[in-house]
Symmetry: C2
């Protein structure tokens, strides 16, 4: 074993926050083209350096005149002026408006010299003048009759009336949205000084990590690097610019080279992803030799081994390895610092008030950052329930919506107690509907027709257990109905049996073969409703044969060899790991395997009675009514 | 005048919504790298195609053993096993665990063959074996003492326990945030099928438009194109991909070429920016000949001349020309259709509930889309007030936070009445503090120290008028105190006088020169407090001379020649348009002009008594206490 750091003197979470706040993550100001400035934050105040409009401008289609020539005119007693020309928008006027004259003008055109008002076209009539022969020399070819009196300035926007040169246009720190970009366009600005995005380097550590998209060796215990992309995305969401570095192993020289490369290029360096204590030790030593370690170990769960330090040119924070833990610590301690440096305040919606859906007890005496799932009740109130109690599962990433901070002196949160949930992303919303239960291919397809559902395929047993606890909106379970289990919304049946290789080379005909012959079998876990159905069938066979269920089970090689998802046994059979496995006809056909039918079982969708009237449940009911038939038609071995 | 379309048969707004909903804006599915997938929407369901982990994995640092070798072990009675090797994360095991054997194992490493449990290192001690000489042949060099009993599976994560191959991972329509990207990383996915972003072509029309960044000719009546960038930004905010086309004039052939180019490349084409009826006519004719016109003219203000049509390959919507009107129509009718096609639902925060800050009457009998500013009261409740009643000013872009839809049959909204405000951008928030009043360089600098203030420099008179109406949080006004004007938070004085060219070539010494000599003068508008101060000084001079104020004013050439902002007269003087102008010493020095002082006036910051306790006002008071001194020190001609 490598030498281990013991975190005996854990820092308080506030000290960690202060240490991170003391780090300088400030990026330099950048200049960006206006078209790319959406969402950026103005680095400095901008004043108008020109008038808008830059000229006296007609704000109506009509005729530019001297207002005093129209004094006293009305419908009954119009004045008639000589029409001496026209001015269009975007064209320099070539005429002047003398006494008794008018010039046709378009909206937006420059007011010609001499004119001080515009009469709108609706209040005028244009007349042909008398024929050339009857016209005095110099007389206009047309005349315009004006049926209203004007005041100077009518329908004219004076130069600078909208924005005047020298006026404050936008203040420093302004977030640029469509409307600010509109104002800057009006001023002719095509490049703006904005706060730089803090550059955040991400180094994942651990010899076992492989970046997604590359081949993976299961034999060598390789896994895909989850934290790099997760944290990179979270950095972007917080207004930073992530830079991914190659993942590093436990080698001191390699790690030192990588950390120094990153620290030279970035405002903040994050390491993450390591499950290995020795990698942490290496980082620790590099920081101690090249920079300054501010804090090592924080009294918070998860996140105890958090490192906070400083290199000559950048800050450093070490995140825990489990993905949900890494995201939790990032969200709580790091994202606020990045947002602050980027000048992008957290959206108010990134934190919401919720009530505990269940009670929860704590006993660690240190701050707990509780990954939390959300579900809405019938009134739209948001309920919170804890997820991922340290399992490290990546699936809990998509079950957790945010984090609740539980203070060290809180030993208990009651059901219904109010908590503050910091969402993982401002875009996160509670699912429209939340269900738990059997992993079933038909129901899984039905889910595809719903808008933002959450469904945890944890098996019938767990579904019913959680439904009794009142957390989910519905459960999906196999087997017969039980009145205590909520309102049945729909049911259908699915054909189950033994999945065998294509062509059924072992010529398996039924359960008896498993009991009597030397065949290897792969089962589902005890939470699965399908497993219960198999157990019942084995019990029936035992009764038929006058023996015990236990006796038969013992004689099936692999009955205790359980795998998680509904396709898992079939995939093991396909891969040659076993002669047969528990499964559904639909799965066997999907994977081009053989199938030995053993019976049909009922799948039921059960509503939580306290949630039947929420919108998402109405959507689910509608889908069960309109979409389920089609799903069952398209899938083999299922029927209404 | 060109032929005009009269909008006699205006469509109802609902018909416009339906026409837009009938357009097909759906983009094609794209595949994007996972690192670029943030915010995108999954086009199809993704199932896991591998187990995570792909192997049975140690979830603790410790020793891999056969659980049955530890049965009965405890602190008092440990078992001792032979240590036969080690396995590290990311490395294929080279040892097996036989009976009575143990293998050192790191978190994340592959379980060696034969082992079914891991004992955590804290419950063990490693011993050196007896010396070589005393050791039997084949005996291990080290032994490990285990002080606890294990069950099979302890501290082992079985292959597929996190995610199993074939499981539904994410549903279609899922918005990808950090956590979803984490799950996809775990599955090794590095490219995802996402909904394409609807391509939205933007064509601005009008011969007078110039794209920002290019030189502008005021003489020719050119203005910067505001709508192209504003709408492009709003398209991006709605999840679309804007494509800007060169601006088009009123020429039929050119417009046809541009529209056809855009319609071939885009899912939707928007035209905008034209103030010219003939450009609209040209577009109308192109659509009629090349596509289908669905709707022309909608009973809504603004937006009456809205065009909705369809080309063979794209949809078309024509927006009004005034920037706030264009954004209002876009936000109300077009953005929802783009969001729908992009699969990006509107954030719930994009619409907020507010109360009318003032009463408002309507009489048009058609739907009114009212651009609305927001301000918070002391309790954090949001109040709405109408802005930009058709002025077309680009400055009202940054005053308007969103749109309130007023139905045609609503003649009156009472103060305090509840309205729904659709924000222009989800990022829009009410300003921290909202003030109206004098355009003053010192106060303008103070604003730079506040976080997201809104200040409308409309002059002292308008500031006091609005303060009496109770809408803003504070006003800034010059002149003497009046007890009815709210709570004075701070005051300072500023030196005013005549701005003259550098060196004062006309040797102007005071007001008397303006009255007696043939000098051209530029004044400020009557809303300006500075103008009032000048008026008072002229009245004093008149009294001194035994004449009337009117008499003196008549003798000042340009007294009625008013410009808008505090720098405007000085800039006109600098440009040679006048001999002198009304201004402040600070302005004259900033622009390197001469200055003839005439006096000092007081600038007062006055709080709305009903808003004194809101957070933003506390921030303003703090800035007045801590920052104002520095601002006044740095600026010439002002003092506390």
């Amino acid at each position: 074993m490598s030498e281990r750091k013991e975190f005996r003197d854990l820092a308080e979470p506030d000290a960690a926050r202060e240490a991170i706040a003391s780090l300088d993550l400030s990026p330099e100001t950048e200049r960006v083209p206006l078209v790319d400035a959406r969402g950026r934050v103005l680095a400095e105040r901008l004043d108008a350096d020109r008038d808008v409009p830059g000229f006296d401008r007609a704000s109506m289609d009509g005729y530019a005149v001297k207002a005093r020539d129209t004094f006293g005119a009305d419908e009954a007693d119009p004045v008639i002026l000589d029409l001496v020309g026209e001015v269009h928008a975007g064209v320099e006027p070539t005429v002047e408006v003398g006494e008794g004259k008018a010039v046709e003008i378009s909206t937006g055109a420059v007011m010609p010299l001499g004119a001080d008002a515009v009469v709108m076209v609706e209040r005028t009539d244009e007349h042909e003048s008398p024929r050339d022969s009857e016209r005095a020399s110099g007389e206009a070819a047309s005349r315009v009759e004006i049926r209203t009196s004007l005041a100077p300035g009518d329908h004219v926007m004076l130069a600078g009336a909208d924005v005047s040169a020298g006026q404050r246009a936008l203040g420093p720190g302004t977030r640029l949205t469509a409307r600010e970009i509109g104002l800057l366009s009006a001023l002719g600005v095509d490049e703006v000084p904005v706060r730089g995005k803090p550059k955040v380097g991400i180094i994942s550590t651990g010899d076992e990590l492989v970046r997604p998209g590359n081949p993976l060796s299961d034999q060598s215990g390789q896994i895909y690097d989850v934290n790099s992309y997760t944290i990179a995305t979270a950095v972007e969401e917080a207004g930073g610019k992530p830079i991914l570095y190659p993942h590093a192993g436990d080698d001191y020289d390699e790690m030192e080279r990588l950390l120094l490369e990153a620290e030279a290029e970035c405002d903040l360096v994050l390491s993450s992803g390591s499950t290995s204590a020795s990698a942490v030790d290496v980082i620790y030593r590099v920081i101690e030799s090249q920079g300054e370690l501010l804090l090592h170990g924080v009294a918070v769960k998860p996140g105890k081994p958090m490192l906070i330090g400083r290199f000559p040119d950048s800050a450093y924070v070490g995140l825990p390895g489990y993905p949900v833990s890494a995201l939790t610590i990032f969200r709580t301690f790091v994202a606020p610092a990045i947002r602050n440096a980027a000048g992008v305040p957290e959206p108010t919606t990134a934190t919401i008030e919720a009530r505990m859906a269940v009670e929860e007890r704590y006993g660690e005496g240190r701050m707990r950052l509780m990954p939390t799932g959300l579900v809405e009740d019938e009134t739209g109130r948001v309920l919170a329930y804890p997820v991922d109690k340290g399992s490290g599962a990546t699936t809990s990433l998509v079950e957790a919506d945010g984090v609740v901070t539980v203070e060290p002196d809180t030993a208990y949160l009651a059901e219904g107690e109010s908590v503050e949930v910091r969402l993982f992303s401002p875009d996160v919303r509670p699912p429209s509907v939340f269900g738990v239960g059997e992993d079933d291919p038909a129901f899984s397809r039905l889910l595809d027709t719903l808008d933002s559902p959450r469904y945890l395929a944890l098996g019938s047993r767990e579904g019913l257990r959680r439904l009794r606890n009142g957390v989910p909106d519905f459960a999906v379970a196999t087997g017969d109905s039980d009145a205590s289990e909520g309102t049945e919304l729909a049911s259908y049946s699915r054909e189950w049996g033994l999945v065998v290789p294509a062509g059924n080379p072992e010529e398996i005909e039924g359960l008896a073969d498993l009991v009597e012959r030397d065949l290897t079998f792969i089962n589902r876990g005890t939470d699965s409703g399908l497993r219960t159905t198999l157990g019942n069938a084995v019990a029936d066979l035992a009764e038929e044969r006058g023996t015990t269920r236990h006796e038969l089970v013992e004689s099936i090689s692999g009955f205790e060899m359980t795998v998680k998802a509904h396709e898992s046994p079939a995939r093991k059979v396909a891969a040659g790991f076993a002669d047969t496995g528990l499964g559904l006809r639909s799965t066997a056909e999907k994977l081009d395997l053989g199938f030995v039918p053993l019976g049909e079982e009922t799948v039921r969708v059960l509503a939580n009675p306290a949630r039947e009237r929420k919108d998402g449940m109405a959507e689910l009911r509608a889908a069960l009514e309109s979409e389920l038939v089609g799903v069952l038609r398209d899938l083999p071995g299922v029927r209404p």
